[in-house]
Amino acid sequence: MIDFPPGLVLVFGGFVLPFAPPRARAALLLALPAAALALVWTLPDGAAAAWPVHGYELSPVKVDALGRLFATIFAIMSFAGALFALNQARTLELACAFIYAGSAIGVALAGDLLTLFVFWELMALASTGVLLAAGGDGAFRAAGRYFVVHMLGGAFLMAGVLLHVSQTGSLAFTAMEADSWSTWLMLAGVLVNAAAPPLSAWLADAYPEASWSGMVFLSAFTTKAAVYVLIRGFPGTEALVWLGLFMIFYGIIYALLENDMRRILAYSIVNQVGFMVAGVGIGTEMALNGAAAHAFTHIIYKALLLMSAGSVLYMTGRRKCTDLGGLFRTMPLTTLCGTVGALSISSFPLTSGFVSKSMIAQAATDETLAIVWFLLMAASAGVFLHAGIKFPWFVFFQKDSGLRPPDPPWNMRAAMLAFAALCIGIGIWPEPLYRLLPFPVDYAPYTAPHVVNALQLLLFSGLAFFLLLPLMQRTLTITLDVDRLWRAGSGALSAAGLASRVLAPIPAGRTRVRARAARAAHAVLHPFRPEGVLAAAPSIGTMVRNVLIALLLALVLGFLATRDTAGAGPGARADVAQDNPPTTSERYP
């Protein structure tokens, strides 16, 4: 059994789902995640599959505490997400969500870099499918932008992995130092998925375009799989502290300005992942435990928040705070569960966020990182401000929108209740979670000073919210981000922007030249339109020319490559191998 990655249960199941009759589909939706969870837990600690392939060793399954923790929460998440989505008619979305969740479990248990990469790319493909399944022009375009960013991240990761393998000769996935091109590239690829700057914008751009159930799945896997890879691959990389802090405040500020309820929650994903990334950067056992625990609790309360937002969207068809409000009257259960999620994300005592996030702050204290600690405290206050109060206040309370929708169907209520119970359960009894963490936990969250300090910080943030309410009134606006570069018509990287760049040097008098250049630019920038370079039917002459060019290029490259390996190649490789011995850090034996 050890050779079989548990995630594949969900991946294969995802392919079967569309063909199952409705009743069988509902049964599969609940049974497959349960089966995956059971498989994860039958794998013994330290077990590892080994497949020799062309002199390298692949290990598609490798089990330790860290991998099991993430695989467990990914499986639990897919179960609750499936329960919430039982009445989702878009079968494509459910199929893609299962392939997506299964690949995330695959990432968490991947013992080598190649397996990791394959599951990583499968996640990108399947999550794009989840977005596309929502239907509509907005979702289609957002899915396209999302896909391009993730293919870019995947290309970084692949290049890093190949370089790493060629230098060290090993595919093993162990802790690395970010000190060479190979590790920098891998780190960059992983950080794209973690929504780190400068490419944070993809998350808040794409996720809110998913369906009411789609975003529940999307919120859980991509960013947390990236956090997992950072914890295992790059613990203690100092730059991550500052990247994480940037993400934390970026999330708060953009969420404060946002009007779309699910985009507020999308920005707060970046914010919360920022806490985890900063924890990985601090890199002590306490900090890594905190980052891992926070990923676990975050998946639960963020899914809970998005389930409550999804229920509102499902029952009202509205997504903007300006159109919502006063729903507590007829949606009491959704209000209650959304509020539990909001308190958990704010790390209120007796909720799951309190027992996980405080470990990261404690690690900053232990390492006497004063600036980091003060920023983390300010950020904790800011989380309550932008997600803890703002989301429930504007959706369920504030002005009366006049809408009187009832609570959603039973399965959606059940999924919310289950995760709300987990939020409070973990908050009251953190020990079972602490036992799952990668390092032994020597930390007591519930001391009198901790509780009094946390309540002071949070409730005075609440006071700030209500005092500043006139400044917080929602407007029909969005906030520009880096993605304006390729989204807006005048953006430097957008199709229209690039075309104008091409035409700029041609004098205005040369109208025919300008027209030809504009047509050529259009064909290249929109390759799949009927007149685009990849869609237009080429003549035989053009094809012969293109084949000739390709063969010539292959010849030249082949010649260069043989010369390189025959000459300086092996010697250079040996030198590199000596400079960078295979990293065999024993952090995760």
Partner: protein, 102 residues
């Protein structure tokens, strides 16, 4: 479910003459503010009862978490406001652009 956005059916609206919910009456809201003020005061006074183990000196002083939380939030809201002046656009901003592009 008789209605749902996927089928383009609107959710029910408030019936005419619906009484004001007790939670949003002026009296209740005043009561909530008074209760909130009492809790805030009690929390600050709670600093007398605990023995803080300060990591950095100032965080062990009286009422530190209260003023720091309040101040940090005010600063972040004002900063967001200021940033919004430069970066806020109508929420149809990218849709308008697209018409020109195609």
């Amino acid at each position: 479910m008789s209605f749902h956005p996927d089928r383009g059916v609107e959710p029910p609206a408030a019936p005419p003459g619906e009484p004001v919910h007790w939670l949003v009456r002026a009296g209740t809201v005043r009561g909530l503010w008074i209760g909130f003020a009492v809790v805030l005061a009690a929390l600050v006074l709670g600093d007398f009862l605990i023995h803080p183990h300060a990591g950095f000196g100032i965080d062990g002083t009286f009422g530190f978490y209260a003023w720091y939380g309040l101040g940090a939030c005010v600063a972040m809201v004002l900063f967001a406001k200021g940033l919004g002046v430069f970066l806020k656009r109508r929420d149809t901003y990218y849709d308008e652009d697209r018409d020109g592009d195609d």
